[in-house]
Symmetry: none
Subunit: 425 residues, 2 copies
């Protein structure tokens, strides 16, 4: 899709900063996230550079970037230790002083104050701000970010931990990007979030919808058994851009129908949790091989306790019988990983928890315990609603490892609950 | 820690090539893998650069790298389409011709021949080889790699798909690295994994251990409430390098003592799970605000079902009383988030599950439900062993969002279980 690049888009460079990235401790996920964000706001990312915690080379690289492009983003190197040098490098590259600033220190104090703590002395480093720079509030961590002029560019310095980067993108970078859209053109981004579909199934079924469009970028990313489809179109005015993007979005919605769980919320559990809470529909889960994974996804939804009082993590046959009332003869006859056991678990969990809706999972996550008739990757699901069984199914996931199987299973279970909730309205 | 980098180590630059990386379709995993590989062979990776499929900028960047360092690695841009330009850029950077070469074409023919196919005409592009370069056999795909001289450096061009890169590293890059070990020096890396410690607490308590060492790189990375400390030293021989690294490691072990959960295994739950399984110590968990997060971490350990039959996810007071036998008067008097309730939950869970060891968690993950006396972020923990309470504690985590609080809480609970297991041996 090289020809679909928005060639008139203003130019940006992204820096990932930290020795740990150059040691290969983990991949540079922040730069990838920032690249996606910029693309969809009409920017052209010319380069991603991963650099060490080394003051002279950081300062040189930042200075050169500030002369070449319009926007420079960095993540990392804002921590409290001696090897956190991004602030120093930014000041040196811009040729300005680095000063302790009360406003930034107040942000650090506020962060610690929220939990009645006092920051250690080393945190004072995080209140150093290049002259003329604006400190950016960090809602999810101690290090304030920075926004400042650098040559002909604007520089944003964001923290390194991904859970801090996301909120700072939303809170500080996005508003700036929206106010500085390149080339007088207007972008519109529409999304479609899909569950229970692999990337290759999606590519096969999407067919012509994935052809290169003169003016709509379609991107798809897969994570934890879910797919995010992003459609970005641009035009001279907002209405034109929206029509282009939403036109294509409508085709995806039609083609993928039951797989679509949202067009706005990437988190399947948040979508499910909200629909449960809105309908005041009580819910529970009985988990064997996923042992708490589905429960913990639901637990991520704030307010879920209004419809969820307990869930069941039942590994052994004895516990399945004792806690959920699964008939020991059914366990013996069909084995723990079987549709009749899944069914009895779902009915039992709903009854025990006094919930209207329940999903049950029993499967083989491996690596051991598989057999020719019941291989690793086999998972049986059942959904129960108001004391009746709503759906039973068996899936055979690829033997891609215990974690992958558990993750895919949990994702499918959440999707089954969502389909059940939606079928009742 | 910049000056502690191995200045005598031979220097390398890694390039990730492809528009899709700059669009953020996925992170640059290849460069991360190559960086790890080089580190352990004694090389210093000065930079990772992600560049677009653009001939002039690729050629310029490669030429500059060939003048600056000793080894240049690229992945991507070796495919059969017009936007695959790495071969052309390498030839231009080295100032040599790009020629169709029969040997490279034979590699492409052989690859297709293995599945009785004939390559399309477009694949001839993959047999273009810069003058003087050696084509590298690709055992897992169609694109041959390249090894060639580039300025004062050696250049390796590897394909983009990760499943092709790994085998080419093993088959072509590693033998070259082993024959060209930098400076005749040997490296040794030691690690320390810590729990229940923030990065700033660590920095404060580590103090002089984090001073810049003449010959030991110390790096620390934080994830999900755990810290990984990496110590890399080098010397003329293996013993010298090991002594240096392990000497410093021993000081960290002494200073951080109870926080250390492993020197080899980065996953706290795997360490805990293995120790439980080895001791055949039965375990259970009673979770309120983490609802399944601790259970699901334990469920990631293969074989854990030999010591774990069930866990409890108990949100409501009623369920805490009914399932775990928590006295309703205690709930009423102290509130659900209190040490007496945590204690009763731990004892009740152990009794109900027939387990020797139990941890219980009750806390406020927010965002709602906090009060001045019981703010969001307050979590009470209790551990029970053989029917007696082993430890009770309250923690007040920073109000960094529901997910962060739940993650930190789960990590602390796993660590409490590990401390309990180790205290019994």
């Amino acid at each position: 899709m090289a020809d679909a690049r928005f060639s008139q888009g203003s130019r940006a460079i992204i820096f990932g900063i930290g020795d740990e990235l150059l040691r290969g401790d983990y991949p540079d996920l922040n730069s990838s996230l920032l690249a996606r964000t910029l693309l969809h706001q009409g920017w052209t990312v010319e380069e991603i550079r991963v650099l060490p915690d080394d003051l002279p080379s950081l300062a040189d690289a930042l200075r050169a970037a500030g002369e070449r492009v319009d926007l420079v983003l960095t993540t990392g190197g804002l921590g409290p230790t001696d090897d956190d040098l991004t602030r120093h490098a930014a000041a040196r590259a811009a040729g300005v002083e680095l000063n302790f600033e009360a406003g930034a220190w107040q942000m650090v104090l506020d962060w610690y104050g929220r939990s009645d703590r006092t920051p250690p002395e080393s945190n004072k480093r995080q209140a150093l701000v290049p002259a003329g720079a604006t400190p950016l509030n960090n809602t999810h961590g101690t290090a304030p970010g920075l926004r400042m002029a650098l040559g002909k560019a604007t520089l944003f310095c964001l923290p390194g931990p991904p859970r801090e980067v996301g909120p700072m993108i939303d809170g500080a970078l996005m508003p700036w990007l929206e106010a500085h859209a390149p080339g007088g053109q207007v972008l519109h981004t529409s999304r479609v979030f899909l569950a229970s579909l692999s990337e290759s199934q999606f590519a096969d079924e999407a067919g012509s919808l994935l052809e290169r469009h003169a003016n709509a970028l379609v991107g798809v990313t897969a994570q934890a058994g879910r797919l995010a489809v992003t459609i970005t179109a641009r035009a001279a005015d907002a209405q034109g851009a929206r029509e282009l993007a939403e036109g294509l979005q409508a085709q995806f919605l039609e083609r993928f129908d039951r797989h679509v769980y949202s067009t706005t919320q990437p988190s399947l559990e948040q979508v499910l949790g909200q629909e449960l809470i809105e309908r005041n529909m009580t819910v529970t889960v009985a988990e064997s091989c996923t042992l708490g994974l589905v429960a913990s996804a639901l637990g991520a939804v704030s307010g879920i306790s209004s419809v969820l009082s307990e869930t069941f993590c039942t590994y052994s046959n004895q516990v399945k019988a004792h806690r959920l009332g699964v008939d020991p003869r059914v366990l013996e006859q069909h084995g723990a990983v079987s549709e009749p056991v899944a069914e009895a678990m779902a009915l039992g969990a709903a009854r025990e928890a006094g919930a209207r809706l329940a999903v049950a999972i029993t499967g083989l996550a491996g690596p051991d315990g598989g057999s020719p008739t019941k291989p690793v990757g086999l998972v049986c699901f059942a959904c129960a609603l108001d004391g009746r069984v709503l759906s039973i199914e068996s899936k055979r996931f690829a033997p891609a490892g215990r974690n992958a199987i558990r993750t895919w299973t949990a994702s499918r279970a959440l999707h089954l609950l969502l389909l059940a909730v939606r079928a009742t309205s």
